[in-house]
């Protein structure tokens, strides 16, 4: 069979089989819907609560994209500063690692106290989570330059700026896009986790809040529907990053080149 078709058909097939199994098992054992709702029940909840859930999705998306953009901008700037000198990197990199290893749930309450505006507080939390892969990947990329090409640029008396824009940045691109893939997922996770900790409600309620509320009310179908929305958002975000990466690298980089067999 055609490989391109299989690439889509195979995972969709697996998904369908799981959905059917899920439906059949729930029916066969007569599992109550407050324990495990069947897929059709979840779909019903999704349609019935669409207005409520969609508004929450928008809130979560706003935080996710805000955090992701902040992480990309800050992470790239920090990486560029770090590669300017070994001394800067040696002195500051351990603190970047600190950012990575501190559990966000431990510092989220602090941030929520410091930053009064709830959406902004959640965005800051998610940014902290999403930041590290951008910093570390971009640094790695900016350093992974072919030494022969560095010699060539030097022999041609290239300026620092020429070396940066024509050699270091293109060399770093594949690593940077790898960082984007990891970071985009983390921004979503950060947005959800931070909201769990903060527990903000009212008009600014995101999907995490809906999951918490549904749990308290034992409205399990709605909980599943909200969960489904988060998952689908994560997958779409990942696909968007794959698409961007392909757009930028397809013409030359090994990872995106389609090899003829």
């Amino acid at each position: 069979m055609n490989e391109r078709l299989m690439k889509w058909a195979a995972p969709i097939g697996v998904g369908l089989v799981v959905l059917i199994l899920w439906h059949v098992l729930v029916k066969a054992f007569d599992v109550p819907k407050f324990l495990v709702p069947g897929p059709l029940v979840v779909l019903d909840a999704l349609i019935a609560d669409w207005g409520l859930l969609f508004n929450s999705l928008l809130v979560t998306l706003k935080i996710t994209f805000g955090a992701f953009l902040l992480a990309v901008v800050i992470g790239t700037i920090v990486a560029f500063l770090f590669v300017q000198s070994r001394w800067v990197e040696m002195s500051l990199f351990p603190y970047a690692v600190l950012l990575q290893v501190t559990p966000i749930v431990a510092i989220a309450p602090l941030i929520i106290i410091w930053v009064k505006q709830p959406t902004l507080a959640l965005t800051v939390c998610a940014t902290i989570i999403a930041l590290f892969p951008i910093i570390s990947n971009t640094i790695l990329g900016l350093r992974s330059v072919n030494p022969g090409l560095i010699n060539l640029f030097r022999m041609n008396k290239a300026t620092r700026w020429q070396t940066l824009t024509q050699l270091r940045i293109p060399s770093a691109a594949p690593y940077f896009f790898g960082g984007l893939r990891i970071s985009s997922g983390l921004a979503l996770i950060g947005a959800v986790v931070a909201e769990f900790v903060a527990g903000t409600g009212g008009t600014g309620a995101g999907l995490a809040y809906q999951i918490l509320q549904a749990g308290y009310q034992i409205n399990i179908p709605r909980l599943f529907a909200a969960l489904l929305m988060i998952t689908v958002t994560g997958v779409l975000l990942f696909l968007l990053m794959v698409f961007l990466s392909r757009l930028a690298l397809a013409s030359w980089h090994e990872s995106e080149v389609v090899h003829e067999t």
């Binding site: 022969g148 030097r154 022999m155 013409s251």
Partner: protein, 273 residues
């Protein structure tokens, strides 16, 4: 430059392009990479540095390229006094063992790189790129990416990138060492033609005796431990040379002389240890 005949023509001695006077190299860890060398390279010559690994041939080439400074002794370029590499119109370029192309750039942009870095306007630069690509036989491959080319073609792009600056001195550091023998012979034949046609001055590093004989007007034979120059051998074979030269008795005689020189030196080096 244009008035200068090749050294074999017997006219007045051409201008000295590079003058190496007692230059040696001791690395920071105390290794003697190269004993003092005296070597004058004249315009229009094709000089090959031949020797086993560790003989300092790449070190000497890098000193000529001004990528390394000698521990003592001096180097002069174009009689402009010492340390005057950057004199206008006097350019040296280097071709490395790998093609060292930018994988994200098409052939056109890879070859244009030295002109881009020097700020040459696009229109004039593109015409020179086209000329350089024609010289190495790659017209029609402008829009290809390096990964779409074979190893030999990538090396040709690398040579085109060197020629596009119209250098006075072309330095080549085992440029075809990573290629198969058939491709290497083809490129050798092409480079010697280019040298002849464009009246280039070339310093070429290799560990292949046959490559050295085929290409050179003069071979600088070197030995290892410690790295030093053994002898200079002139190859008195008229140009343009063809593949037929490789199977002549003269070629075999040169090969015998050089093999014996190298074998003798390495035997002596072994007893020294």
């Amino acid at each position: 430059m244009s008035a200068i005949a090749t050294p074999t023509a017997g006219a007045a001695a051409p201008e000295v392009v590079v003058d190496v006077r007692g230059a040696d190299k001791v690395f920071a860890n105390g290794t003697r990479a190269l004993l003092p060398v005296d070597l004058a390279i004249r315009a229009g010559e094709f000089v090959t540095l031949l020797g086993p690994s560790g003989c300092g041939k790449s070190t000497l080439l890098k000193m000529i390229a001004n990528l390394l400074t000698p521990s003592s002794g001096q180097l002069g370029w174009w009689r402009g006094g010492f340390d005057h590499v950057g004199e206008p119109g006097k350019k040296l370029v280097m071709v490395f063992q790998d093609a060292t192309l930018m994988p994200w750039a098409r052939v056109q942009r890879n070859v244009r790189l030295p002109l881009d870095l020097a700020g040459v306007p696009r229109a004039g630069a593109d015409a020179r790129v086209a000329d350089a690509l024609a010289l190495v036989g790659l017209t029609g491959f402008e829009t290809n990416y390096p990964r779409q080319l074979s190893g030999g073609m990538q090396m040709r792009v690398s040579i085109a990138r060197a020629l596009v600056t119209e250098p006075n001195l072309l330095l080549m550091d085992e440029p075809f060492g990573a290629l198969d023998e058939i491709t290497r012979n083809k490129l050798d034949a092409d480079i010697i033609q280019l040298w002849w046609k464009k009246k280039l001055t070339v310093v070429f590093v290799t560990h292949s005796i046959y490559e050295a004989i085929f290409l050179s007007t003069r071979i600088v034979v070197m030995a290892a431990r410690p790295g030093r120059v053994l002898k200079e051998v002139a190859i008195d074979e008229p140009h343009p040379r063809t593949e037929a030269f490789r199977v002549t008795q003269r070629f075999a005689a040169y090969a015998k002389e050089l093999s014996e020189l190298l074998a003798e030196a390495s035997a002596k080096g072994a007893t020294d240890l």
